[in-house]
């Protein structure tokens, strides 16, 4: 069985992020890394450079729904390119082996507190969706995985269906997180696809979810990032997978 990491990046900015992400993975893991992109990426970091068509929507939901098809590995970990891996992911791999599909289900602030999702995940709350994060997920090539992502693609390509399935609040722009959570709910597989472990910690830098009384629209205007051999946000050393979401590196 082959194992590896798959990163997705469209456009030079995200390719740069993916390179930094891959460099951080290389520090902690010998597993292969591949990149799915709309352009050629000339870096030795990536064992495979899978070329795909450019997506024109904001979140590239079509391409990102098809990563399971394009992955060269039997067992794949997908990490969003604007992330830095700060610690070994062996526990993640060990816990997920043998499962079809797992999404990290708990995000943390830079202070390692559970993320305050009340402000940032209104669509999820108002439609009673589970909390799953596409930014870090694992899949094995299986019929279940295929069916799941096919359904995600259907949700993301049919606006009328989305409105029907998300009656209380429906995002105007298709979103992978919303579609994945909706698919998990409707396929009644939330428990099956939720990664419940606390190792690795998944740090999500949504500025309004950091527990600040005075948040800014950009977290990097509220607090400094120090990125060297280690990542510090203000005085906090980061661990796990650090999803920085802004152009800070």
């Amino acid at each position: 069985m082959t194992q590896g990491y798959l990163l997705y990046a469209q456009g030079q900015t995200h390719i740069n992020y993916a390179i930094k992400c891959a460099e951080s993975i290389k520090k902690i893991d010998d597993r292969s890394i591949s990149i799915v992109s709309n352009q050629t990426v000339s870096k030795d970091l990536f064992e495979n450079n899978i070329l795909v068509e450019e997506n024109t929507d904001k979140f590239h939901v079509l391409n990102r729904s098809r990563l399971w098809q394009w992955s060269p590995y039997d067992q794949t970990t997908v990490i969003e390119s604007d992330s830095i891996v700060c610690q070994s992911l062996n526990n993640w791999w060990n816990k997920n082996l043998g499962n079809d599909l797992k999404f990290v289900s708990q995000a943390y602030s830079y202070r390692q507190e559970k993320l305050d999702v009340l402000r940032d995940r209104k669509t999820f709350l108002e439609n009673d969706l589970p909390n799953l994060y596409v930014a870090l997920h694992y899949f094995e090539k299986s019929t279940f995985t295929k069916n799941f992502f096919n359904f995600v693609e259907v949700i993301n390509t049919q606006e009328a269906l989305r409105k029907k399935l998300l009656p209380n609040r429906s995002p105007k722009i298709p979103s992978m997180d919303v579609a994945v959570c909706l698919a998990a709910k409707l396929l009644d597989c939330v428990d099956k696809v939720s990664y419940l472990g606390e190792d690795p910690t998944f740090i999500h830098m949504k500025p309004y979810a950091q527990g600040w009384e005075n948040p800014f629209e950009n977290w990097s205007k509220r607090i400094n990032l120090f990125a060297g051999d280690e990542i510090f946000v203000g005085p906090f050393r980061q661990q796990g997978v650090f999803h920085y979401i802004e152009d800070v590196l």
Binding site: F232, G234, P235, F236, Q239
Partner: protein, 266 residues
């Protein structure tokens, strides 16, 4: 293992901290049944203390606004000697207390039965429960967890020595740490240096270098007035906005921040 409490008390222009310390030492004897050592700046005669240690207070001072309900004034605040608690304590196990901490039960005895080298309160409750503030949750909006230096337990061991060494380092480099943790106040606070030291020793992460105190700490703000104090009950007139509410605590340890009001009641 010798056990005892340590109280720092340096009078300023208006506040008689030594008077508070004497009352506290009596409560310590009554509820915890351990001796109290006072650290102060003048020779005093009192049978309430096991030891009286005299040090120079002038090295550790800053100006602070003291509130008494709706009025306030700037007075000298001699607070930083606390960083020498490890060096000065005559006990192998010590609880350092603010003189304005009113002990009303024996729960702190449990400190002496647990294994952590250092214990502090990180959770505390406003006696006026609906006043919402993050002031005592984090040391600043972006900063680390807030620990109360008000009541700190430590053993005389390497872990605690390291903790106080780091506190001294933070104190000596306070302007740097103030910026790093985005602390807005210019006043040096032991709560902040103790909290930062705990954070550093947790490898700049969330962690458990400091253990939990075996009790719940309540606090009243300096805009609250104390109306009466008995052995176990304290009656407050709390203030929120332009409103007042009477609150009585019963068998709870309370940190009373209105020094004027406390002094009147002792």
């Amino acid at each position: 293992m010798s056990k005892g409490c340590l109280v720092f008390a340096f009078n300023n222009e208006k506040i008689d901290y030594i008077k508070q310390a004497i009352d506290l030492s009596r409560r310590i004897k009554k509820y915890l049944d351990v001796p109290t050592t006072i650290i102060t700046d003048k020779k005093i005669i009192s049978e309430d203390f096991d030891q009286i240690i005299v040090i120079d207070k002038n090295f550790y001072s800053s100006k602070k606004t003291y509130h008494d309900g709706n009025t306030n004034e700037r007075l000298t605040f001699y607070n930083a000697a606390r960083i020498q608690a490890y060096k000065l304590t005559p006990y192998e196990e010590t609880i350092v207390l603010d003189s304005d901490f009113i002990i009303c039960n024996d729960n702190l005895k449990k400190c002496f039965l647990q294994n952590n080298s250092v214990c502090m309160y990180d959770k505390s409750f406003d006696i006026c429960s609906f006043r919402q503030t993050q002031e005592f949750t984090w040391i600043s909006d972006i900063g680390c967890k807030f620990y109360w230096a008000t009541c700190t337990y430590f053993k005389k061991d390497n872990q605690a020595k390291l903790f106080f060494d780091v506190i001294n380092h933070v104190y000596e480099n306070y302007s740097y740490y103030k910026r790093l943790y985005q602390i807005n106040s210019n006043l040096y606070r032991n709560d902040f240096s103790f909290s930062i030291a705990a954070h550093i020793l947790n490898n700049y992460q969330k962690g458990n270098f400091v253990g939990d105190m075996p009790d719940t700490m309540y606090y009243s703000l300096d805009k609250d007035e104390i109306l009466s104090i008995s052995n176990e009950e304290i009656l407050f007139l709390t203030n929120f906005g332009k409103k007042n509410l009477a609150v009585k605590t019963n068998k709870h340890n309370v940190h009373c921040m209105n020094k004027y009001s406390l002094e009147k009641m002792l």
